[in-house]
Point group: C2
């Protein structure tokens, strides 16, 4: 809907560069001939584009390829993980996390630092995060990687780079990007649940359509449709935690009543247990109270997900965060509720699965997002085209 600019020769080339890079990213190593076939460009054009990619170190030739067919073998070209990398950052309630991911989406570095940021001052937390990031950047550069961009996951909705409201941190309207721009990198800021969903997309199940349910202190969800996140109008979509489960239920800290979070948030789940690990131990031991709590949470999740399925139409549902270890005790009730309530509307309810990424889904998704941006428009990535000329020739 927004105005778009005309295409000139240089943007045509930039686009074709992106198309070639995109195919390399999707299809693993490919010969120039295969790239020509896939993109519809001629072999000549592909050759010149590939030459640019090779020169910049974004791609490498990885030896001859035998198709088992006759004819001259092609030279496989693939993305190079040796030169370009991105930085994923996360601020959460009780830890800071970071990772460095290369162009092939291989994780090159991870760091987690336990920091209790409940009711913290944003400046302090951000300074600490910057120190972490600086150290990681140096380390990455020592191994020949150039950090081309960064993204930050925060536990709350983000609108135009402004963290609107992070209740568990006690932050409100924090312009996070300003405070971190000393990193001298383009920095994207995004909701933790959305980035965790992307983490699951690129580092987990690899299904292109699903709803990632992030069970933390709060409950968020990130919907991925055809490989990209649905953000809604203001980036506030996916607040599964406050979907109405019981109109006259107990009050929720959001001001409503009977929200999902009241029944299935981390605090509700824990009950008497001190931690999720403890809770799992209790469940394994067959503790009545713990089992009943989980069953109630499962039913509540089933109800909220019923509404979510009707409104969002996810391809599948992936449970992550604290729900991952509790999955065996939640699965049955969620599935039963969904099946009963979706009844006539769908032949089968969306499949239900556990997240395949660990606790660091969000940082991974953050780093992966920047990779995606680079693949989508390599010509605009600032640190890609080093040297005297400032872009692909």
């Amino acid at each position: 809907m927004t105005s778009s600019r005309g295409v000139r020769h240089d943007s045509m080339r930039a686009r074709n560069l992106a198309v070639v890079l995109g195919e390399l990213h999707r299809g693993g190593p490919l010969t120039r001939a295969a790239l020509a076939e896939l993109t519809g460009l001629t072999k000549t054009t592909v050759s010149t584009l590939v030459a640019d990619l090779l020169e910049s170190g974004v791609a490498v030739e990885s030896g001859a390829v035998r198709d088992g067919e006759r004819g001259r073998p092609g030279v496989a070209v693939s993305l190079s993980g040796h030169r370009v990398a991105t930085l994923g950052l996360e601020i959460n309630v009780d830890y800071l996390a970071l990772c460095v991911v290369d162009l092939t989406r291989a994780v090159r570095l991870r760091r987690t630092q336990p920091v209790d940021s409940r009711n913290s001052r944003p400046d302090d937390t951000l300074r600490r995060l910057r120190e972490l990031a600086d150290a990681a950047t140096s380390e990455a550069e020592r191994s020949g990687l150039r950090i081309a961009g960064a993204a930050l996951a925060v536990p709350g909705p983000v609108r135009d780079g402004l963290l609107c409201n992070a209740p568990h941190l006690g932050w409100r309207d924090v312009r996070v990007s300003d405070l971190l721009d000393l990193l001298d990198l383009p920095l994207a800021v995004e909701n933790e649940a959305n980035l965790a969903a992307l983490g699951e997309l690129w580092f987990g199940s690899a299904e292109p359509d699903f709803l990632y349910v992030s069970g933390e202190v709060g409950i968020g969800a990130g919907l991925v449709v055809d490989g990209s996140v649905f953000r809604g109008t203001y980036g506030l979509a996916g607040e599964l935690g406050h979907v109405v489960v019981a109109p006259d239920g107990p009050a929720c800290r959001c001001g409503g009543r009977g929200c999902l979070e009241v029944y299935a948030g981390q605090d509700a789940l824990l009950g008497g247990a001190a931690s999720i690990a403890d809770l799992v131990a209790l469940l394994e031991a067959g503790d009545r109270t713990a089992l009943a709590g989980c069953a109630e949470a499962g039913r509540a999740l089933g109800l909220a997900l019923t509404s979510a399925v009707h409104l969002l139409d996810p391809g599948m549902i992936v449970l992550g965060g604290v729900y991952a270890p509790l999955f065996p005790w939640l699965e049955g009730d969620i599935r039963a509720t969904l099946s009963a309530r979706l009844g006539q509307m769908r032949r089968v309810p969306p499949p239900l699965a556990v997240s395949e990424t660990g606790a660091d889904a969000a940082v991974l998704g953050a780093a992966g997002l920047v990779i995606q941006q680079i693949i989508a428009d390599p010509a605009r990535a600032p640190r890609l085209w080093s040297g005297p000329s400032s872009g692909p020739r």
Copy 2:
């Protein structure tokens, strides 16, 4: 996420043609100089592109333009409504409808035929619709319009051109497009609520972000974000009617319990009244039962919309269909419920408004959708470039 093809010279030109056309569509009459400014193309390029548009009759020059500034006045160029038009079609439970809309989105023709299609045979209904469409096409062509494409609104979810399930018609898995392709036009098929939302976008409030709530026998909703409809994974998104309002409420025909439709569907609203007009009369007369029914429906809508706001993050909420005439009696309860429940999460709840389009929002949206497709890619519109050569030169 899906593979995309390389850009060649002809696609560069096609894209620029679309960009220019898009600006004309958004910005009313514009001079070539203004177009050059807006698109970033040179005046020369714009001139040649505009020449193509003028020659094909898609655009017209509409006289000199005085900016009040000095300098040579420009010639205003605008979309022409005299040559290209599209056809909007709708099959609903108790009527067939149709409209012809020209490139400027002016409505050139409307037809509605009351037909009770409850438990009908698809073939019969489609044959009747085709007769209507043929007649309208002839009439449009007599006034010099060329129908360049059509879209059809149906009361049920659509997936890949297949009408999956229209409970009120009693249809299931009907390949609607096949049965209508005798029209010899490209035909898109889409859910009634989604198209009604687009109708509201283009022929109503013109806000770029909103959730259109379509109250009919069933309750659907179409979310528009930045001028385009959100469809979910399989095109089933927006089923507001089956969002859970009361987990243990009365059974719904969908198999669930306590769905919104049970409280606020047309049947529930009508209560004893014979029609919506009757109901309005009762409400105006202060009938206790009718008022109580509306209040309950309003509260239920408020609850379902609370969940919808959390999950979809609409810019505003527009009530259409039978809710339009009942708006005065629903507004208060909906607003109160939303405000109370969204409390801490948002500074203000999304604005609530009545639809500005009448009952024919869906047909209008259907015709408008085809217009949008033409604007977005004029080079590919089959009937645009008539004459010996089969495309822009």
